[in-house]
């Protein structure tokens, strides 16, 4: 082995589970330091698990999903279809996409970037790791990574939005609302759509400041 290349199995990667337990990331890009564009794998350990979350990539990312192992039921726009091992799924920016594992131990590779723009590491990767640290009880490590990620992604809505989720889970409502306000100012329509459906923020909804922010 040398510094110029690396050999590994997707099974060697960490398995990082989202706070609500619905998603498991195998952080390929971050682990090897691949820089040209985004590439990660997602695991559906049991049939019925989400393997790709329901989302749209409204910020302009074009994506290709590759079913590396197992079988998934994909939804792309209005279409739902069976995707056995070896299936390629292309999603243009803004198109609804989602995948549910149809077999146990399903692995889907996700590749993504914005056409015509140099790729930069997205904040969500580091936030996903930070939330996994928190779930494992490594709160200080998680908080340090949240702060570092916020500093490296100034001006985005994703940074303060994820920081708001983190603070809400930690029980610091003042800090959570401060971050949520910043995120809302940067992307009001998206935050107004995402926040009410986000399990991390449920507890905040009874706070008067929630009504003040979202009406």
């Amino acid at each position: 082995m040398n510094d110029g290349y690396q050999v590994l199995s997707l099974d060697d990667l960490d398995r990082l589970t989202s706070t609500d337990g619905t998603l498991t990331l195998l952080p390929l890009r971050r682990t090897v330091g691949f820089r040209p564009f985004g590439v990660n794998a997602w695991l559906g350990a049991r049939a019925g698990d989400h393997v790709i979350e329901r989302h749209h990539e409204r910020d302009g990312d074009e994506e290709l999903y590759v079913v590396v192992r197992g079988r998934a039921t994909f939804t792309l726009g209005d279409e739902t279809f069976d995707a056995p091992e070896g299936t390629l799924v292309h999603a243009t920016p803004g198109t609804l996409r989602e995948a549910i594992a149809a077999d146990d131990d399903t692995v889907v590779l996700a590749v993504g970037a914005k056409p015509g723009k140099p790729w930069q590491p997205a904040a969500w990767e580091d936030f996903f790791v930070a939330f996994a640290h928190r779930a494992a009880g490594r709160t200080d490590e998680a908080r340090a990574l949240v702060a570092d990620t916020l500093a490296r992604h100034p001006g985005t809505w994703q940074g303060p939005y994820n920081a708001a989720c983190f603070e809400a889970l930690e029980g610091d409502d003042d800090a959570a609302f401060a971050q949520l306000r910043v995120a809302y100012e940067r992307a009001p329509a998206l935050i107004a759509e995402y926040a009410p459906a986000d399990g991390d923020l449920v507890r905040l909804q009874s706070d008067p400041r929630w009504r003040e922010l979202f009406g």
Binding site: F37, H90, G112, K114
Partner: protein
């Protein structure tokens, strides 16, 4: 088409003995480089090469079968779900299949740069037409690629090859001259390239 199986991709047998299954062109992906490869007559599944010209980082992921990768002189046998990430563009890399059903997914791009389709994709895509002597089709594939990457010397050179074989000597001379104007190495290549036999004696042939 928004989804298909790797076995439904086009299968283009290349002279180097491996099979190219174009993914990026099939879906018209603009944001990143992605293709699949399978073994051809030689058993090779990834051509031996470096990325010194393009400066790409690459990931090769075995989707099916087994392959022996050789990277920087070191051998590694990989099965499904295993991958090699080649960080350094100058390292030579290649792979031979260890089973007939092997398929390898290749991802590549240049760090810090917006993705541009590689010129070789048009050249590979034109292989079936060129092999069948359908020169107008081979020329059209290169012209379409050039429209997206005006001034690409590799594309100009290969367009000139197709035009020479397709009996369009004036176009071939013009495009070969344009390639040479961008890099003199293309004149050296043209001097020994049999594609240019039909026009080698023409005025203005740059070699």
């Amino acid at each position: 088409m928004t989804h298909l199986h790797i076995d439904e991709l086009d299968r283009i047998q290349l002279d180097d003995g491996f099979e190219w299954r174009p993914i990026r062109r099939r879906f018209d992906i603009r944001a990143f480089g992605v293709n699949a490869y399978a073994p051809g007559a030689s058993g090779r599944v990834v051509e031996e090469h470096s990325e010194s010209e393009l400066g790409h980082q690459e990931i090769y992921l075995v989707l099916r079968g087994r392959a022996r990768f050789t990277v920087d002189g070191n051998d590694h046998e990989l099965g499904p779900g295993e991958l090699v990430f080649v960080r350094h563009p100058l390292l030579r890399r290649g792979a031979v299949a260890l089973s007939d059903d092997t398929v390898v997914l290749a991802l590549g791009g240049k760090p810090g740069a917006a993705h541009e389709p590689s010129a070789w994709e048009a050249m590979f895509a034109a292989v079936p037409a060129a092999r069948a002597g359908r020169w107008d089709e081979a020329i059209r594939i290169h012209e379409e690629a050039l429209a997206e990457q005006p001034g690409s010397a590799p594309l100009l050179y290969n367009l000139a090859c197709m035009e020479s074989r397709g009996r369009r000597p004036l176009d071939a001379i013009l495009h070969l001259q344009q390639a040479v104007a961008r890099d003199a190495k293309w004149a050296e290549y043209a001097a020994r390239d049999t594609d240019f036999e039909p026009i080698r004696a023409e005025p203005g042939f740059p070699a």
